[in-house]
Symmetry: C2
Subunit: 231 residues, 2 copies
């Protein structure tokens, strides 16, 4: 895990700064600068490890990460985190240790803001508390909704669902390079690898999808949407 200097010295001047910090005054922004660490990691590295004590919250600047829960038998992927999102926010307030792993699925850059700093801002800035509440609610709402959406569907529908998710939510494009393996895709939508592959092959055969390795293109979004809703 490499630590580099933050490209901008001060959070105040940071173009990546999270909307969570929009209500801070200059003094508070300086304090923030002093209580965060800029970190670079490569694909596959842990950003946060399940069970380890919570030292802070990570703000993802670049790259995608997965939030997972591990088990003797399998790994469950809870959600995919895109740049400009906070990760680990949930655990901070509900537990002294991280409940989940956060693992880079691309090379990532993030700022680790200390827990103490979050708590400080919380007591000094009411607007910050409100924004934090909103963020946390949104994040958990989204996580629960995705789980329910997956549970609702059978396998074809799940694959269609997650492909639409990557196209619409993550890449805003019908053409994208999937950052995760078939196994991870399976772990994300509660399936077996073989079934993921089989269904992807079907979608390709039916000219709904173009696949070359991890390069995906949705060539018939309408039919894919239909499968997502009814299949």
């Amino acid at each position: 895990m490499n630590e580099k200097n933050c490209p901008g010295e001060l959070c105040k001047e940071c173009g990546f700064r999270s909307s969570i910090f929009s209500g801070l005054n200059d003094e508070q922004l300086v304090a923030l600068s002093q209580n965060r660490t800029f970190v670079c990691v490569t694909k596959g590295d842990y950003i946060v490890k399940q069970g380890s004590p919570i030292e802070g919250v990570a703000f993802l600047r670049k790259g995608l990460a997965k939030i997972t829960r591990t088990n003797i038998h399998r790994e469950q992927i809870i959600r995919i985190v895109s740049p400009r999102e906070f990760v680990g926010l949930l655990s901070v307030f509900s537990s002294p240790t991280f409940q989940y792993n956060i693992i880079a699925i691309e090379d990532c850059e993030y700022c680790m803001v200390s827990k103490q700093q979050i708590m400080d801002l919380l007591s000094k800035n009411q607007a910050f508390a409100k924004i934090l509440l909103e963020k946390i609610s949104q994040i958990s709402d989204a996580a629960i909704t995705i789980r329910l959406d997956i549970a609702l569907r059978q396998l074809r529908g799940r694959v269609a669902f997650i492909l639409c998710f990557f196209a619409n939510e993550i890449y805003q494009s019908q053409k994208f390079t999937l950052p995760i393996s078939r196994r991870e895709l399976a772990d994300l939508i509660d399936m077996r690898v073989e079934n993921v592959v089989r269904i992807l092959s079907e979608l390709r055969r039916d000219n709904i999808l173009r696949i070359e390795g991890n390069a995906f293109e949705i060539i018939d979004p309408e039919r894919l949407k239909w499968i997502k809703e009814h299949g």
Copy 2:
């Protein structure tokens, strides 16, 4: 939906008061008393309706409720809420309308605290903000964990899981009267009614469970736990 007077006039004197309000001063407790409505509903009544504007947050005094999401094809039960819990907390901060239904599965008594009142306390009392953050985090963490736990298991394991849940989390007893129908049980653990019934019958035949209508008794907790973990 009946509205009765609150047994105690003032929240200050309320034996049911949520730990969320532990940090309030007298003045704030008086304000709370003036901005909440005491409500009684009977089994089956809606406490909150999916899609309706959020007027406030319900604190459950008595009775159990289910949080659900409805769909053309089926109802998904997200979680069961026990007395002394807040419900609808998530949506308050993430959306102008309720994302879920909250429906009484027993006769219920609850206090509806206005959204405005929550927001007011939030800006006046920092400790309140922290406690609220903790509660919300705990609630959503628990909801996500249950969903993951269910997704992990096959049907026998799911049934065992939910029976243990009712025995340990809700009733703290191996003997309890299930407040929901077989269909609702199915909706709670992503199964079909027939399969729930079938597996319950198996558990009874194997002398793990005693069932008479909705009266349940777990007579072999060890084996049930084994099925929950491995079955």
